[in-house]
């Protein structure tokens, strides 16, 4: 293939809407970086079958309506070949039917809600571990340590609630009693009522289906009101470096599930993390790796299909069983991810360590957080 022929090949246009404003602006930004790094890498390798990859994206402002319109635009105006997903379950909920309608394969990332992938859609494929498995690791450990009671709270949005309910189901399996259960609104500014009520039940485990700001608030007010469970776990906050920055020492002992960690012994994960840090200056969060992984899945699909033909790529993605820097990928009908597991991390001495599963652990978990008064 001569250079002239290469240049003549049209690029494969991959479209996505990304949350650059609104509630998911930060995570959206991470995900976008993952996408972009993947595109650079593919193109540096000479593209796919001689065709460069081009990413086309717009800002959906974290708004499902907007995203639906944008996917419509990407498909009909920009004539993209294939799609990557937006960030978050609600936005994906609005975007997925559009991709399905135009029969364009979409590798979804940033959406853990299983409901999306149980609608019998044919063109949507999940990268993330579904939200109901988020809490498995910590609960197994806690159960082994002999804990019997749990308080569960969550933000009343799809994903956060899903993680909490997954945790509750798991707890019941393990014989752990759920002694307190309550939801709170998005953007909550004061959770002292919740903390006081939970405190009255004196649970061993405090589980929150929550994001960064509310996780921070829950820990902060737990300290203020001297609430002392032995195990803290929150679905999203502790997975982010900012959790440690915002809480300093108080972040210690908090568990957080993780879709991915740079320290994991997955092919290319470490290297991705290093390059990411060099490029953007901060630690790679799993949202970034998820974006990169989704790109890799799409890439694997195209390779297996032998071209960017939509129908062939769809068939390939449905049957694919592969490994990315983000973890395993395999879906069942409807696109639900079935092979990727969730990792568990814990903040220890101001650092986040992988503590579960044991074979990839970087540190031993501490399952008995000291009471606030006993901490230095």
């Amino acid at each position: 293939l001569g250079p002239a022929a290469l240049a003549a090949e049209k690029p494969v246009i991959v479209g996505a809407s990304i949350s650059l404003n609104g509630a998911y602006a930060r995570t959206g930004e991470y995900q976008k970086r993952g996408y972009e790094m993947w595109v650079e890498d593919v193109n540096a390798r000479g593209g796919l079958f001689g065709r460069k990859i081009e990413l086309k994206y717009y800002d959906d402002k974290s708004n499902p309506n907007e995203a639906a319109k944008l996917y419509e635009r990407l498909i009909t105006v920009d004539k993209v070949d294939l799609l990557l997903g937006p960030y978050s379950s609600p936005v994906t909920k609005a975007a997925a039917p559009i991709a399905e309608k135009y029969k364009i394969p979409m590798v979804s990332t940033g959406a853990a809600d299983q409901a999306i992938f149980r609608q019998g859609f044919k063109y949507i494929f999940q990268t993330y571990t579904p939200e109901n498995f988020y809490m498995d690791g910590v609960l197994e450990m806690a159960s082994k340590a002999g804990y019997k009671t749990m308080a569960a709270v969550n933000e009343d949005t799809v994903f956060a609630k899903g993680t909490a309910e997954g945790g509750i189901a798991k707890a019941k399996q393990l014989g752990i009693d759920v002694v307190f259960r309550e939801a709170y609104a998005k953007g909550v500014k004061d959770v002292s009522g919740i903390i006081l009520k939970a405190k009255a039940k004196n649970p061993d485990i405090f589980l929150g289906g929550s994001y960064l700001p509310d996780s921070t608030l829950l820990v902060r007010q737990a300290k203020e009101l001297d609430f002392n469970p032995r195990v803290y776990v929150f679905s999203v906050g502790p997975g982010l470096p900012d959790f440690g920055k915002n809480l300093a020492k108080d972040s210690d002992y908090v568990f957080g599930p993780s879709q991915w960690e740079p320290t994991l012994k997955l092919p290319g994960a470490q290297e991705f993390a290093d390059r990411y840090k060099k490029k953007y200056g901060d630690e790679a969060a799993y949202h970034a790796a998820g974006g990169y992984g989704a790109g890799q899945i799409l890439e694997a699909g195209i390779r297996k299909a032998g071209s960017a033909d939509r129908e062939k790529v769809r068939e390939a993605l449905a049957a694919l069983d592969t490994m990315t820097i983000f973890g395993a990928y395999k879906v069942e009908a409807g696109g639900l991810q079935v092979k990727k597991i969730m990792y568990m991390t814990q903040w220890l001495n101001g650092k986040r360590e992988v503590v579960w599963p044991e074979n990839v652990a970087t540190a031993k978990p501490i399952l008995k957080a000291p009471a606030w008064k006993e901490r230095k």
């Binding site: 404003n21 609104g22 509630a23 998911y24 602006a25 930060r26 930004e29 009343d156 309550e182 939801a183 709170y184 609104a185 953007g187 909550v188 500014k189 004061d190 959770v191 002292s192 009522g193 919740i194 006081l196 009520k197 009255a200 960064l212 700001p213 921070t216 608030l217 902060r220 007010q221 300290k223 203020e224 009101l225 001297d226 900012d242 920055k245 915002n246 809480l247 300093a248 020492k249 108080d250 606030w372």
Partner: protein, 289 residues
């Protein structure tokens, strides 16, 4: 459920401490409304900038977030003056809707600038954590400090308006600018000063927010709405009212969060506001008509 009295006391005290912060924020908003007849919809965004100022001072030079209060106050005072002079002053005397929209636009711009400068991360300043115990009641340090600061600033501003000549001139200018001018009052300066003061108070409130909450560039919005609810509770333009309204909202929110659920806490402000508008439109402090 068996609740004991101390728990309720705890809830109420928590609400009061939070309420003082609301009061500080709402007082600034109220001052601006009272003098300029401007519904300053970018008040929460000014507060947000105050929070970032405190965060920046802490992160860069390790300035304790209580010591940074004067700095954030002055910074936001200056920003307020700049905004008033270049933009808000141009709609002086225009219908309420104009200033409402103008400040809304300013709010969007500030959010967008902050978003590009600081990204959407939720920040918070890890200082003054934990509580002081008073009998069985835990007094969170950060909120206690907020409470004291809010009290001092709000009280100071109140005395200034009520007692001083400049304060009275501010009130006169708020009623009829043309006639105030014919009394020799430099109305443009009064407005400038009042807006600066209100913005400074928002900045200080932001500084205190940074102590107790996580915030990001979009946090202003929620506080905006609450601040409005509060000045309605207190009576619009009624300075003391904003203070009591803030405390009331803090306590009612605390109690709602405890007795009902935190899911409906945000609605409390609006429902309380609607009830007041219906049954006591002049607010807590207002006399009838």
């Amino acid at each position: 459920m068996l609740e004991s009295l101390p728990v309720y006391l705890q809830v109420i005290v928590g609400g009061l401490l939070l309420g003082a912060l609301y009061a500080l924020l709402a007082s600034g908003l109220n001052l601006i409304f009272g003098v300029l007849r401007v519904i300053n919809i970018c008040h929460g965004e000014l507060m947000m900038l105050g929070a970032y100022a405190a965060f920046g001072l802490f992160a860069l030079w390790n300035v304790h977030p209580l010591l940074s209060i004067p700095v954030t106050f002055v910074l936001l005072f200056l920003l307020g003056i700049a905004i008033e002079k270049t933009l808000v002053e141009r709609v002086a005397g225009a219908p309420e809707l104009s200033s409402l929209l103008l400040t809304f636009g300013i709010g969007i711009i500030l959010t967008s600038v902050a978003m590009n400068a600081f990204k959407a991360d939720f920040r918070s300043v890890p200082a003054l954590t934990g509580s002081i115990l008073l009998w069985e009641i835990a007094l969170p340090r950060a909120r206690l400090a907020s409470f004291a600061t809010a009290l001092v600033i709000t009280g100071g501003a109140y005395l200034f308006l009520k007692r001083t000549r400049a304060g009275k001139a501010i009130r006169a200018a708020s009623q009829n600018a043309l006639v105030a001018e014919t009394c020799g009052i430099d109305v443009a300066r009064v407005r400038l000063f009042a807006y600066g003061l209100g913005a400074g108070m928002a900045g200080a409130a932001g500084n205190l927010i940074a102590l107790s909450y996580s915030f990001n560039p979009e946090v202003g919005h929620v506080f905006n709405l609450k601040a409005f609810a509060i000045i309605v509770l207190g009576g619009m333009g009624n300075f003391a009212g904003a203070f009591w309204g803030g405390l009331l909202l803090g306590v009612v929110e605390g109690l709602t969060g405890y007795i009902a659920t935190a899911q409906v806490v945000d609605a409390v402000a609006y429902i309380l506001m609607l009830l007041f508008l219906l049954f006591r439109p002049s607010g807590l402090m207002g006399s009838a008509k």
